[in-house]
C-alpha cells in the first residue's frame, strides 16, 4: 500500500482545470 498525498492533490487540480476549461468552452460556444 503506497499512498502519496500529492496524488489526490494533483488529481483535484486536474479536475478543477478540466472543469474550468469545459465550462468556458461550452459557455462561450453555446451559452
Amino acid at each position: 500500500m503506497k499512498v502519496d498525498e500529492t496524488r489526490w492533490m494533483a488529481g483535484a487540480i486536474e479536475f478543477i482545470a478540466l472543469l474550468c476549461v469545459l465550462a468556458f468552452a461550452f459557455s462561450r460556444s453555446f451559452g
Binding site: 500500500m1 503506497k2 502519496d4 500529492t6 492533490m9 483535484a12 468556458f24 462561450r28 460556444s29
Partner: protein
C-alpha cells in the same frame, strides 16, 4: 528510485543523506487533522488561481462566440498558462508554502508537470483541429511572432522536462541542471505570455489582463525569490565548520557552530540546505537532515555519505570554513502524543533518526524507542558506537539488520520484512508512531512490511533520500 516519475529530477535534490521528499502514507489521523487543513487551504488557493482568469474573462467583453473546438483550444491554453506560472511558484520555498512542506511542494510540482504538458499538447491539438490551415504556423520561419513565441515556449518546456528525466543518466550536475531548469522555466513562461499577448484574445483584453499580469508576476517573482538571497534573510544564517569527523560506512559528520547568532531552532527529523557562501557556488545548495540534537541548535551537525560533488568536498572542509544554512524545512517530525516510536532506517537514512534519538536522550524522554537499522555489513553501521551509548541514556532497542553479514552474525540478516517486525515489535503498538527513512526502494519495502503486520498506513511517516 524505481519509477520514471521518481527518476525525474526536480528541485530540490541533493546527495545521499539528503532529504528530497517525504510523504505521509495513508490519510492523516484525526487527532492531527490540523495538519490536513493547510493542504486543503493550499489547494483552494491553487484552484482560485486556476479559475480566476476564467472568471475575469466571463466579466470581460468577449466578442462573438466561436465554434466549440476553437473555444476549447483557448480554454486549454489559458489553463496551461496558469499552470505554467504556478509551476514556478511551487518549488520556490515561499514561507506561505512552508505548511505543506518543501518536499510535498516538489512532488506536486513533478506530478503537475505532466498535467500541464498534457494541457499544452491538447491546446495545440485543439487549435489545429479547429482550423487545420494553422498547421502551416508550425514551420516557425515566416510564421507570425505570436506563433514563433508559442513554438519557443513549447520547445523550452520539452527540453526542460527531458533534461529533468535524463539528468542522472547523462550525469548533469545538480547545480547546472538547476540553473538550466530555472532559465528554461522563465523562458517558457515569458514566451507563453508573449504568445498570449500576440493572440490578443481573452487574457489580453479587459479585466482578464490583470490575470495575465498577476500570473506573470507570480511566476517570475517566485523565480526571483528562488535566486535571490535578499528574500531569504529570514532563514539563511552563517555557520562555521567546527570539525569534520569520519564515520563508519563511508560517511562524514560536519559539525557546525552558529556564527554571530544562537542557531536556528529545529525539530528532530527536519532538514536544512547547506550552501557555500562564495559566488561561484551560489547555485550549489544541498539538503541534509539535521543529525544532531535539537537541544543544541547553535551546534548542528550533518552526516553525509561521501560520494562526489558537495559531499566529497565536505569531507575535506577545514575547521573555520564558512557555510550558510537555510533551514529548518520538512514535515518529518516525531509526534509528541505517541507512546512509543519505531524508527526504520536504511543506510545513511539513519541521520534523522539520530537527531530524534539524541534529542530524546537530551530531553530525558522515557518512552520506548525501537530502531531497526539496515546496513550492508558491520563496518557499514554508521553511528554504531554512539547508538550503544544512547542505549544507556534512554529506553532504546537497536536491531541491526545486515544484508551481507559475516558468517557468525547472530542477528537479523537480509531485509527488513514482516518477519523482522513480528520478532521485534512489542505487543501493544496502538499509540506508537512509525518513521521510515532511506532510499526509495527501501522505504517502499519497509512500508509494505509495516502494513503487512497490521500497522495502519496513516501512522507511518516515510522519508525518501535520493542519491544524486
Amino acid at each position: 528510485m524505481s519509477t520514471p516519475t521518481d527518476d525525474r529530477a526536480g528541485p530540490p535534490l541533493g546527495s545521499p543523506g539528503n532529504v528530497v521528499e517525504s510523504h505521509t502514507v495513508g490519510a492523516l489521523i484525526p487527532d492531527h487533522g490540523a495538519r490536513r487543513l493547510p493542504r486543503t487551504l493550499w489547494l483552494l488557493i491553487y484552484g482560485i488561481a486556476l479559475a480566476g482568469p476564467f472568471v475575469l474573462i466571463a466579466a470581460s467583453d468577449r466578442g462573438a462566440p466561436r465554434p466549440f473546438m476553437f473555444e476549447l483550444g483557448s480554454g486549454l491554453g489559458i489553463a496551461a498558462l496558469s499552470m505554467l506560472a504556478l509551476q514556478l511558484v511551487l518549488p520556490a520555498r515561499l514561507p506561505v508554502l512552508a505548511e505543506i512542506g518543501a518536499e510535498v511542494a516538489v512532488r506536486l510540482h513533478r506530478r503537475l508537470a505532466d498535467i500541464m504538458l498534457a494541457a499544452v499538447a491538447a491546446h495545440v491539438a485543439a487549435v489545429m483541429v479547429a482550423d487545420p490551415s494553422r498547421l502551416g504556423l508550425l514551420a516557425f520561419f515566416g510564421a507570425p511572432w505570436r506563433a514563433q513565441a508559442a513554438i519557443g515556449s513549447v520547445v523550452a518546456l520539452v527540453v526542460l522536462m527531458v533534461t529533468s528525466i535524463v539528468r542522472r543518466r547523462v550525469r548533469l550536475s545538480y547545480r547546472l541542471w538547476r540553473a538550466f531548469h530555472l532559465s528554461l522555466g522563465a523562458i517558457a513562461l515569458v514566451l507563453a505570455v508573449v504568445h498570449t499577448i500576440g493572440v490578443g484574445r481573452y487574457l489580453a483584453t479587459g479585466p482578464a489582463e490583470w490575470a495575465l499580469v498577476a500570473l506573470t508576476a507570480a511566476g517570475l517573482g517566485a523565480l526571483l525569490v528562488m535566486r535571490s538571497r535578499l528574500f531569504r534573510h529570514g532563514s539563511l544564517r552563517p555557520y562555521i565548520v567546527e570539525r569534520v569527523i569520519p564515520e563508519r560506512g563511508g560517511a562524514v559528520t560536519v559539525e557546525l557552530r552558529a556564527d554571530g547568532h544562537t542557531g536556528q531552532r529545529f525539530i528532530p527529523g527536519q532538514f536544512a540546505w547547506l550552501k557555500l557562501p562564495d559566488l561561484k557556488a551560489s547555485l550549489a545548495e544541498h539538503p541534509f537532515s539535521y543529525a544532531s540534537s535539537a537541544e543544541a541548535p547553535g551546534r548542528p551537525s550533518f552526516t553525509m555519505k561521501t560520494i562526489a560533488g558537495f559531499t566529497a568536498r565536505a569531507a575535506g572542509f577545514e575547521p573555520g570554513t564558512r557555510l550558510l544554512v537555510d533551514g529548518p524545512h520538512g514535515a518529518f517530525r516525531p509526534r509528541s502524543s505517541s507512546t512509543g516510536t519505531l524508527l526504520i532506517a536504511g543506510g545513511i537514512g539513519i541521520t534523522p533518526s539520530m537527531s530524534i534519538l539524541r534529542t530524546a536522550a537530551d530531553r530525558s524522554d522515557r518512552r520506548p524507542y525501537l530502531l531497526l537499522y539496515a546496513s550492508r555489513n558491520l563496518d557499514g553501521i554508521t553511528f554504531a558506537d554512539e547508538l550503544e551509548t544512547l542505549k544507556t541514556r534512554m529506553t532504546l532497542t537497536v536491531v541491526n539488520v545486515l544484508s551481507a553479514p559475516p558468517p557468525d552474525w547472530p542477528g537479523e540478516r537480509g531485509r527488513i520484512n514482516a518477519g523482522v517486525l513480528d520478532r521485534h515489535l512489542p505487543g501493544d503498538i496502538r499509540h506508537w508512531q512509525f518513521l521510515v527513512c532511506g532510499s526509495g526502494p527501501f522505504v517502499d519495502g519497509a512500508v509494505e512490511a509495516l502494513v503487512a503486520v497490521g500497522v495502519p498506513g496513516e501512522r507511518v511517516h516515510a522519508e525518501r533520500f535520493v542519491e544524486v
